[in-house]
């Protein structure tokens, strides 16, 4: 397998990926500048107390990090994948012990003035570990356990991150199912997840009775259809019972396990409660900011909603509001173009690569970036509950930018032949 990596290829560093990366980081920085911009005030570029100045430092160090990664032997990246995974997992556990709590999630290690969020690096580490695991090839006897072990590699960080009360970041790890699907996991499983999702929404939005009615209807339909096949009847009954149990456990989970603020967020998305002071207020303000942008936007540095601090976290999780307000639908299109192009390019290169490791890794990170992108934008326009995850490359913050830079540049390096 390793021979694959050393095979000569004339492509070199993928210029398009590099271009998309620089474009997104640039868009991020000018937007962060705008959110902190004080009209008619002093906006010194090198005022270290200002986020845009700090972000300049993060960008500079990220570029440095990128260059270093490009200089490393790719063999090393592969060889150390598991160690990196274990190290990041260790950091995650460490956070549980010595971490600092910021807005409800104990996910940060504070070193002096700076806080590091190991969760961000765990994403890279998990992608690498999974790539290495799949790359090692399994004998048929082991194959049975492939999904179990791969699932375990994903589940482990999810559990630790959930313990940090950082539900949003934990959910992101589910994006590795895209990789699993590509690598042959049964599509039925994903379909089941989808059905479970539909049942969850029905149960929470309406009532478990509706969900049970639906299940029963489908069950009766299949029972009549398959009435002659004994084997299928048995299967139908099992599926029926599991579904009913699932519906009840969803209700139970919602009532007893979710934190109050999470319940509100879920309920808000389902349109059940109106909570103008909390989640609904933020979402409403976020929609007003984006919606008031119009087709061409209000102009750079001229947004009023984001400037007046109606929108929370406008330089981090809600950075898209500022883009939507100041650049309008045009800005939306540009941002979408760069993200979709980036994700498509990673998938395309992964698919084309003759090196399996690159493909595994590529699908892993494409999934991460895609989930971040759709969930983040989705929450600003009310399609997804508000869970605090950043917009890759754009959002303010050192940990996030470093992690996504590492993630992308490892791919660029691995793909460079």
């Amino acid at each position: 397998m390793y021979n694959d990596l050393n095979r000569k290829n004339t492509k070199g560093i993928d210029a398009r990926l590099l271009f998309y990366y620089i474009a997104l980081v640039f868009i991020g920085w000018i937007t962060i500048y705008s959110t902190c911009y004080i009209p008619d005030g002093v906006n010194a570029l090198f005022d270290i107390s200002k986020p845009y100045c700090k972000q300049l430092i993060w960008i500079g160090t990220s570029l440095l990090l990128g260059v270093i990664i490009l200089l490393i032997d790719k063999q090393i990246i592969q060889n150390y994948a598991y160690y990196f995974y274990i190290f990041c997992l260790f950091l995650l556990v460490l956070v549980l012990i010595i971490g600092t709590e910021i807005s409800g999630a104990k996910a940060w290690i504070k070193i002096g003035d700076f806080s590091i969020q190991p969760t961000e690096f765990m994403k890279v580490a998990t992608a690498l570990a999974l790539a290495k695991f799949f790359n090692e090839g399994k004998t048929s006897a082991e194959k049975r356990y492939v999904w179990l072990i791969a699932g375990g590699l994903v589940l482990l960080p999810i559990i630790v991150i959930l313990l940090q009360h950082d539900t949003g970041s934990a959910l992101v790890f589910l994006s590795f199912f895209i990789l699993f699907y590509r690598e042959g996991m049964s599509g039925m499983l994903l379909l089941l997840v989808f059905i479970a999702g539909v049942l969850t929404v029905i149960t929470l939005k309406f009532n478990e009775l509706y969900a049970i009615a639906l299940i029963t209807a489908v069950f009766i339909y299949f029972m009549i259809k398959n009435r002659t096949q004994k084997k299928l009847i048995k299967r139908n009954i099992i599926v029926f019972v599991i579904s009913i149990v699932f519906v009840f456990s969803v209700n139970l989970l919602y009532e007893n396990v979710l934190e109050p603020h999470q319940k509100i967020r879920v309920a808000t998305i389902l349109g059940q409660t109106s909570d103008p002071k909390g989640a609904d207020f933020n979402l409403n303000q976020s929609k007003i900011a984006i919606g008031s942008g119009g087709f061409f936007g209000k102009g750079y540095l001229k947004g009023t909603q984001t400037k007046l601090k109606f929108v929370p976290e406008q330089s981090t999780d809600f950075i898209f509001c500022a883009i939507g307000e100041e650049w309008g639908f045009m800005g939306t299109l540009v941002v979408f173009f760069f993200y979709l192009a980036l994700i498509y390019r990673i998938l395309l290169l992964s698919e084309k690569s003759r090196i399996s490791f690159v493909r595994y890794y590529g699908y892993g990170i494409a999934g991460i970036i895609a989930v971040h992108f759709f969930v983040n934008i989705g929450m600003t326009i009310g399609l997804v509950p508000i869970i605090g995850i950043p917009l890759p490359f754009l959002s303010y913050g050192g940990s996030s930018l470093w992690a996504f830079t590492t993630m992308l540049f490892i791919f660029i390096k691995l793909n460079d032949n």
């Binding site: 119009g294 109606f310 939306t332 299109l333 498509y344 326009i381």
Partner: protein
Amino acid sequence: MQDRKRYIVILAVLAVLAVVYLVRLFNLQVLNKSYKEKANQNAMRYITEHPARGLIYDRNDSLLVYNDAAYDIMVVPNELRDFDTAELCRVLDITKEDVIRKIEKAKKYSVILPSIFEQQISKEDYGFLQEKMYEFPGFFVQNRTLRSYPNPIAAHILGYVSEVNEQDMENDNYYQMGDYIGKSGIEKAYESVLRGEKGKRVVLVDVHNREVGRYENGAEDVVAKPGTSIWSTLDLQLQRYGEELMANKRGSIVAIEPKTGEILCLISSPTYDPNLLVGTARPKNYAILLEDSKKPLFNRALMASYPPGSTFKLANGLIALQDGIVTPSTIYSCSGGGYHIGSHVVHCHNCGGLNIYSAIQRSCNSYFCRAYYNILSNRRKYKTVQEAYTAWLDYMHSMGFAQKYETDLPYELKGSIPSADYFDKKYNKSWNGNTVVSMGIGQGEAAVTPLQMANMLAVIANQGYYIKPHIVKAIGRKDNPNTQFSEKIVSKINPEHFRTVLEGMKMVVKAGTGRGAQIDGISVAGKTGTAQNPHGADHSVFALIAPADDPQIVIFCLVENGGFGASVACPIASLMAEKYLKGEVKRKDLENSMKNLSFR
């Protein structure tokens, strides 16, 4: 082939998601106009609701401090549009330069948050402006309250409020630019109780700068919590009467209810009208008061250190009794006209032989010099003079001298009674009772505040203990007593000695130096004092306890440059006692002559 299919499926799912998102965004940003309108309406204005400060009552529910309505003009620089500067200048009586300067200052603070443009405009101006507000986009009017004092008294105790400064905002982030904070007196000591809690109102403002409604039906609003009222221990009538008596004089009267340590009146003269330090006039008036050579801002009752004069003999007598230096029957003779130290004589009035009762009654210098010398020379009990002196200082301390009480009073000073070390240094360790003997009669190095002297009287009245003097009786409701200062502090003197001294004090008023303190139908105990003043005429001092058998009030009165204690401080203290115990004063002639006395 299977792989290829899945790659396409993944791309397709992403594409579908992207299309769904873009359609949603197109709808939100381009098709749906309501968000644009909302954003325009979203010119939300955060109006701080300033709660009314708590009221301050006296011990009999008479109002000492209340609130008056005032109006501040606020400006939000970002919302400013062209307006008729001339008209604004005319209404507010300011110049165009003022307008520019004020807007620049507001911009410096924040361009989007409101700043105060003009403070406390009159009700008439407010009424006029309110109708024309639409002509001045970016300006709005905010209601405030100002302190007001129905009686112009007790300025030093009540203190004043003023706008917060940078330091205040740094210390407590509750405060924002333009907030008020108690700066001295009760206003400062009980700031957290009196201030209440700010609220806020979020209102929508239309393009004409008019409030069009509450944002989200007031869901974001926070109702201001008004401040909690306070009942002071002061007696308004007594305080006012005392200030009248002390008019045109310098000095202080402190009266305490001994059983509770409650300060009934605390007068420092000259004083000032607390209404002077309210609102926009405050900085100007404050500067005038500060420069006044009579120092009206100086709170003599708590901050001035005076030689205690003969009233100090009471404390020394108590210590002599406690240490067994004298008993009630011990007689010291003062043949030769006083107390002799070598060739130096501390003169007295040639009293002959006296016991402690008569010594107090006649304020005999020689008796107390000798007693003090003997306290410090008591080698059976104390090995050295230093040890004896330190023990004496300890007694003094136990009666409340040489310390701050740190209750709720503003800016007290601790006075000064030097330590043994001080004399060791001064006299190169070679000193004895005679070296410092003048302290035995309240002269020399000892310096005390009027509050401490009044407190000592409370110790005598209570026969051995005091409760730290304080100024607030109840918080929130009158029947919710302020219990933070109710601890009994017991002196190191046995109760029977207080009875002896009190007996002597009764004789002072009955047939001694303080006959002027007699009040019809009330037995009064007292002690005169004449505090030597190196800078001019002596200070007139009187200490009073009444009724002597069941003390309700102790009064310490000091009139600077008033001469003998018997001539000024004694009648004033007596009038105060009469006013407090009887409600009205019958001795109008005396009252008038005291009011008209002037020692400026």
